[in-house]
């Protein structure tokens, strides 16, 4: 009985991958444990091993094919003596070309729509870039510009980054400036704070912000407060960055969104970009900023492509929200991956004839409340969207600001769509339920629109 060999999922967030190289040919006999192919995930190139033994009957996907969906058939394995024609006929189709096999990406970013770009020079062209590439480019550009900028963290150098963010940077900048640390977040965060006091501009990569909990004392007590405590004599010009929030199926200890935690702290600046353009422009500004900046990324967004201004030095100022869509009936306010749900809901609301304004906060401290207040004065309704927990959330703070500064303009209570008030469950169905969804946003929007 022929067996279909399926494209494997090799990371928590992998939905598709590139079939880099076949290490077997049609007609080869394989046994369990033999390496069949090299598969490039969003994080790394992995070897894919055979589980069953048999003979490779057909390679269905040509090597070099990108965007092969997880669980799609990539080869047919025959039993001894079985011929290809005995196998399921439907599975036997000519090996497609690389281009033809490229399946539509399952998690495509919503189209950018009438994004309101600020201050770009006339004639600026755009290039398509993933968030991952944008972050890497931002760091590399700043390291070329300023010798005192360096990158440190777990697996940033020789491993090329746990999420491939720093891929190639060791080659360019050397081990003096791209530094692998031991797994010791508290310690290396403290060393980086000291290095910042001593005249350097460290970029500290946390493999995820969940691990930064170990370093919280150094981030808050040492990095954020020293400028004040020293009467302005010395501070910590540095960036703490890494993925924040839920990836996929990694459970309660690896899924938390810390946006509200850090946004609470005077002395820190807190950035959480959605698009690749903002990731690039804001990270460059963050590295140049003379203060400690928490730069919250998202693992699911790393592989998503956006249009990025093709400029030699593209920066985005910290503390300014971006209006993604202009509209008159309702304001949706979000940041980071929450923008995905906000924009999807905006598409659906548009189909219902609702004119939606979508604001990407981008920066949570300083928080551009002015843009939100002005928008709500126009639309009179507001829904906030974020992945974090509901209590003391970014949304609850915005609600408070709107009550104080736009009370008379509100035609409905502000609703905060958040992650549910539970530790993140592992089970797929429960995890889906725990996260904020486009449906949650739609329900909230309909509620404030009284529809």
């Amino acid at each position: 009985m022929a067996i279909e060999i399926l494209m494997p999922a090799l990371s928590p967030t992998m939905e598709e991958g590139t079939l880099g190289k076949w290490l077997v040919a049609e007609g080869d006999k394989v046994s369990s444990g033999d390496i069949l192919a090299e598969i490039e995930t969003d994080k790394a190139t992995m070897e894919f091993e055979a589980v069953d033994e048999g003979i490779i009957g057909k390679l269905l996907i040509a090597e070099g094919t990108a965007a092969v969906a997880v669980n799609s058939a990539i080869a047919i394995l025959l039993e001894e003596g079985e011929s290809l024609s005995d196998a399921v006929p439907a599975a036997v189709s000519p090996a497609p070309t690389a281009a033809a096999a490229a399946l539509p990406a399952t998690a495509q970013a919503p189209k950018q729509g009438n994004i309101v770009e600020q201050d770009l020079p006339d004639g600026t062209t755009f290039k398509s870039q993933t968030v991952r590439e944008a972050i890497r480019e931002a760091m590399s550009e700043e390291m070329r510009r300023d010798e005192t900028v360096y990158l440190m963290g777990e697996e940033v150098a020789e491993y090329q980054g746990a999420y491939k963010i720093s891929q190639g940077m060791l080659d360019e900048f050397g081990s003096k400036r791209v530094i692998d640390t031991p797994i010791t977040e508290h310690g290396f965060a403290g060393i980086a704070v000291g290095a910042a006091f001593g005249g350097l501009k460290p970029i500290v990569e946390f493999m995820t912000f969940n691990f930064a909990m170990q370093a919280m004392d150094q981030i808050i007590n040492s990095a954020a407060k020293t400028l004040y405590m020293s009467g302005g004599q010395m501070g910590a010009p540095m960036v703490f960055r890494g993925p924040n929030g839920a990836a996929a199926r990694v459970g309660a200890q690896h899924s938390q969104d810390y946006a509200a935690w850090y946004a609470h702290i005077p002395g820190l600046k807190v950035v959480q970009p959605y698009s690749a353009a903002d990731a690039k422009g804001l990270l460059k500004s963050a590295i140049r900023d003379p203060n400690p900046v928490i730069f919250l990324e998202n693992e699911i967004l790393y592989g998503q492509s956006f249009d990025v201004p093709d400029l030699p030095d593209y920066t985005v100022p910290l503390g300014k929200a971006r209006i993604w869509r202009e509209g008159n009936d309702i304001t949706l306010v979000s940041f980071g991956i929450g923008m995905k749900y906000a924009l999807q809901a905006a598409d659906k609301l548009l189909e219902m004839g609702v004119s939606v304004e979508v604001i990407d906060l981008r920066c949570l401290r300083p928080l551009d409340t002015e843009t939100v207040v002005n928008s709500v004065k126009k639309t009179n309704r507001c829904v906030t969207i974020e992945e974090g927990f509901p209590v003391c959330s970014i949304g609850s703070h915005i609600s408070s600001v709107l009550m104080q500064e736009a009370f008379d303009y509100l035609d409905a209570p502000v609703i905060n769509c958040t992650g549910k008030d539970v530790p993140m469950p592992y089970a797929a169905n429960l995890e889906k339920l725990a996260l904020v969804t486009t449906e949650d946003v739609m329900a909230a929007a309909k509620s404030v629109l009284y529809r």
Partner: protein, 332 residues
């Protein structure tokens, strides 16, 4: 205190006079601070350094210009020893605008960029990776400087200290870990809190050399400091000095110190006092007379009294200061 004694050779009269003056300044300053605390002029926590003076004075004698230092909340002595002004330190204790942090840091949080004093940190052990980070920056910049990272026997049980030992050794950072072992982590004696009798030996697990030093002997401290500085400055990586010392006062001003006997404190004061030790050397060596020392006492007293006056008279920070120094402004 089974620590190494050094010979008293090669110490000039000027050295001894300098040590006497510096240690006495710290002691009289701290006594005055205690007095001002009692009068309600100094608030919050105030951790006095009395008894430990030889540690910072000995090590500062081994430092060069541009070397850095960072310590915990028991920091007044370190600041005076590295040349910060008594006026500015005392005015910070009283929370006045003339203080090193404009009154916004207090006893535990003071800094001087000019004197390369990087705090003044209130979280036990947090200054240790920061000290290694300063050394990291110096190595990166290739400027030949070393950093003294001071911490106590209590902090020596914090995990981040060992995270730092590991990286400092791995990366050959020019940092001297100075364990000021005053035998009590607040109210818990070393015997009750620390598995090792000799804390510096913990460095061996990381390949960091170290030694125990008699912290009541300023000459021994200076000599050990010179060994450590030479090691670090030559690029051999970190060094540990466990300096056995003793604090005469409580952990802070509000500590009744019931965890040790009055006799224990009295015995150290009478038999081991670091200032008395130098005084004896000066007098028995006929380097100076009682009158010379009295003149120094008088001079120090004047400096300290002046600092107290300054600290009382310096105005409280302007109310606008509440909102300044939260964020640094980008340079244009």
């Amino acid at each position: 205190m089974a620590a190494k004694k050094t010979s008293k050779a090669n110490v000039s009269k000027d050295n001894l006079m300098h040590f006497y003056r510096e240690m006495l300044l710290i002691r009289r300053f701290e006594e005055k601070a205690g007095q001002l605390y009692g009068m309600g002029l100094i608030g919050g926590f105030c951790h006095l350094y009395i008894g430990q003076e030889a540690v910072v004075v000995g090590l500062e004698a081994a430092a060069e210009d541009g070397d850095k230092r960072v310590t915990s909340y028991r920091d007044h002595g370190h600041m005076l020893a590295c040349g910060m002004e008594a006026n500015g330190v005392m005015a910070e204790l009283t929370g006045r605008s003339g203080g090193y942090s404009k009154g916004k840091g207090g006893s535990m949080h003071m800094f001087s960029k000019e004197k390369h004093f990087y705090g003044g940190h209130g979280i036990v052990g947090a200054q240790v990776p920061i000290g290694a980070g300063l050394a990291f920056a110096d190595k990166y910049l290739g400027n030949g400087r070393v950093t003294f990272a001071y911490f106590g026997d209590g902090a020596a049980n914090q995990g981040q200290v060992y995270e730092t030992f590991n990286m400092a050794a791995l990366w050959d950072l020019p940092v001297i870990f100075v364990i000021e072992n005053n035998q009590y982590a607040m109210g818990t004696s070393q015997q009750r809190s620390t598995s090792s009798a000799e804390i510096y030996e913990r460095g061996r697990a990381f390949g960091i050399p170290g030694e125990a030093v008699d912290g009541m002997d300023v000459l021994a401290v200076k000599a050990a400091g010179e060994t450590a500085v030479a090691h670090c400055r030559s690029g051999k990586g970190p060094y540990i000095l466990e300096i056995k010392t003793y604090r005469y006062r409580g952990h802070s001003m509000s500590d009744p110190a019931k965890y040790r006997t009055r006799e224990e404190v009295q015995k150290v004061r009478e038999e081991k006092d670091a200032i008395e030790h130098v005084r004896d050397l000066l007098l028995t060596g006929k380097h100076c007379t009682e009158d010379d020392l009295k003149a120094i006492d008088k001079e120090i007293k004047a400096v300290v009294n002046q600092s107290a006056e300054f600290a009382k008279e310096s105005p409280e920070p302007a109310l606008e200061e509440l909102w300044t120094d939260i964020y640094a402004q980008a340079e244009a």
